[in-house]
Amino acid sequence: MKRSLVPYLIGLFPLAMMVVFFLAPLAFMIVVSFYERDPLGFYKVSFVWDNYAKFFSSFYYTISMRSLWSASLGALVVVLLAFPAMYIIVDMHRRWQLFWVILLLSLMCLSEVIIGFAWLILFSESSGIPKFLGWVGLWENPRSLSPSFGAMLIGFITLGFSLVALMFYPQMAQRDRSIEEAALTLGTPPARVFYKVVLPNFTPAIVSSVATMFVYFLGVFVMPTMLGRPQDWNMTVIITDKAVGDANMPLGAALSVIMLLFTLLIIGGLMLASRKREASS
C-alpha cells in the first residue's frame, strides 16, 4: 500500500507548483480583468465589464488587425524559410549539423533584446547595411532602415527561425527516406519529389508550426518596440503599456484574457483538426 502511494506524494510537488504558479495566475488574471483601476494602487475589487467594453473600439480594432497581420505574415515567412532549410540541413555532414544545432540553440536562448539590438545596429546608417550600400555607391543618401515594418518582420523571423527549425529537426532527420526513393523509382523527376511526397507528408507539421509561430509572434514585445514604428506596435506592446506604463492592470488583464481566449481557440481548432485527420485514417 505504502509503496504505491509514494509516487503520488512526489507528484503532488510538480502538480502544486504548476497549479499555484501557472494556472492560478491565469485564473486570477481573469478575475482582475473585471476589477476597476485604482490610480493609487494596483486595482479596486469590483465587477465591471468596462475593461472589455474598451476593447470594442476602433483603436483596439486597428491594433488587433495589425497584430494578426504581422503575426500571420511572420509565421508564414518563417516556416517557409525554416522548412526547406531543415530539409537540406539534415542531410549535411554530421559536423555541419552540429554547427547548425548550436547556432539554432544559441539563437533560441539568446534574448529578444540582444537580437533586436543586433539588427538595430545592422540597420543603422552609422554602422550597418545603409552605410555599406552608401560606401559601395549603391545608395546615395543612406538612411537608417529601422524603425520600419520590414525591420520588425526581420526581427520576428530571426526570433522564430530557431524555434521552428528545431521543431522540424527530429521529424526531418528521422523521416523514412525510402519514401522519396520510392517516388523516384516510380518515375517522379527529382525536382518534383519534394512537392509530390515530402511536402504532403509534412503538411500537418507545417500547419501546426505556422499556428505555433503565429501565437508566439502575437505575444512578442521587444521586436515591435525596438525595430517597429509606433504604427507597427502590436497588442502585446499596448498591453504592457497599459499595465505597466499606465498602471492599469485591469485593462491589461482584460486584453490578455481576450488574447488567451483567441489562443485557446486556435490550439483547440488545431487539436480538433488533427483528431479528425486521425479519425478519418
Binding site: 510537488f13 510538480p14 502538480l15 482582475v32 544545432v101 543586433a118 530571426t158 488567451l260
Partner: protein, 263 residues
C-alpha cells in the same frame, strides 16, 4: 533544386542569422564612443566598463542569481513530474506532465501579465524571488521534455535488475536512475538557466522596476540613447550562451538529445 542552389539557400540563411552579431562584435571592440562600424581603432574599454561599473554589475549579478535558482526549481519540478509519469505511466502522471507543457503553448505576454497580477496580489511584486519562481515554472517545458528522453532511454530491465538485487525504490533511484538521467538533467538545467538570463518580458512585468536584470538594462539603455557598452554586454551574453552550449555538446550528444539520431 541543384546541390549548389541548396547550399546557397542554407548559407544565405546562416549569414542572415550570424551577420548581425558580427557587426555587434565589431562595434563592441571599437574605441569610439559613438556606435559605428567598421571600427577605426580597437579597444577593450567597453568590456572594462561593463565589468567594473556598478550600473552594469548589479544587473549582471541579478540575472545570474535569478537564472541559477530558476534552473534549479525548473529541473526539480521536471524531474519529479517525469519520475511520477515513469512510475505510474497513466492518468495522474500524464496530468502533471501536460500541465508542464502548457506554458510553452501560450504567448509570453499572457504568462507575464498573469504573473504580474498574481504577484501584485501576493505582495511579492517587485521581488527577485517572484521572478525566480515564475521563470522556474514557466520554463519547465524544456527540461520536462529533455528529461523525458532520458527516462525513455531507461530500460525496465535495468531497474528490475536493481530490484532483484535487493535495492529499495529510493536506492534504485539514487544509484541507477539518477546517474543515467543526469546528462539530461544537466542539459535541462543549462537551457533553463540560459533562457532565464536572456528573458525580458516576465522579468520586466514581475519585478522590472525594482530588480533590474541585464536584458532590462540593455533594453532601457537602447531605448534612451545608447553607448557601445550595450554592444559589449550583448557580446558577453552571446559568448556566454554559445560557450555553455559548446560545453554541453562536449558532455552530451546534442544531436541525439534533440531526437535527430536515426538509430
Amino acid at each position: 533544386m541543384s546541390a549548389f542552389l541548396k547550399r546557397l539557400f542554407v548559407t544565405a540563411i546562416a549569414v542572415g542569422l550570424i551577420l548581425p552579431f558580427l557587426i555587434v562584435a565589431g562595434v563592441s571592440i571599437s574605441a569610439e564612443s559613438n556606435i559605428s562600424f567598421p571600427p577605426k581603432e580597437f579597444s577593450a574599454r567597453w568590456y572594462t566598463e561593463l565589468l567594473t561599473q556598478k550600473d552594469w554589475l548589479i544587473p549582471i549579478r541579478n540575472s545570474l542569481v535569478i537564472a541559477a535558482f530558476a534552473g534549479l526549481l525548473s529541473v526539480t519540478i521536471a524531474l519529479a513530474a517525469n519520475y511520477v509519469l515513469w512510475r505510474l505511466k497513466s492518468g495522474f502522471g500524464k496530468l502533471v506532465f501536460a500541465l508542464g507543457v502548457g506554458p510553452f503553448m501560450l504567448p509570453p505576454i499572457i504568462i507575464a501579465m498573469g504573473a504580474s497580477v498574481f504577484w501584485a496580489e501576493m505582495g511579492w511584486y517587485g521581488r527577485a524571488e517572484a521572478t525566480v519562481i515564475s521563470h522556474g515554472v514557466f520554463f519547465v517545458t524544456l527540461p520536462l521534455v529533455i528529461i523525458a528522453r532520458g527516462f525513455a532511454a531507461l530500460s525496465d530491465d535495468v531497474i528490475e535488475a536493481s530490484r532483484t538485487m535487493g535495492a529499495t525504490p529510493w536506492q534504485t533511484f539514487a544509484k541507477v536512475i539518477f546517474p543515467l538521467v543526469l546528462p539530461y538533467i544537466i542539459t535541462g538545467y543549462a537551457l533553463v538557466a540560459i533562457i532565464s538570463v536572456n528573458e525580458y518580458l516576465i522579468s520586466y512585468m514581475v519585478s522590472g522596476f525594482a530588480v533590474e536584470t541585464l536584458p532590462i538594462r540593455i533594453f532601457n539603455n537602447v531605448r534612451y540613447g545608447y553607448t557601445p557598452v550595450v554592444a559589449s554586454a550583448a557580446m558577453g551574453f552571446a559568448i556566454l550562451t554559445i560557450g555553455v552550449l559548446l560545453l554541453l555538446s562536449m558532455i552530451t550528444d546534442l544531436l541525439k538529445l534533440l531526437g535527430a539520431s536515426r538509430d
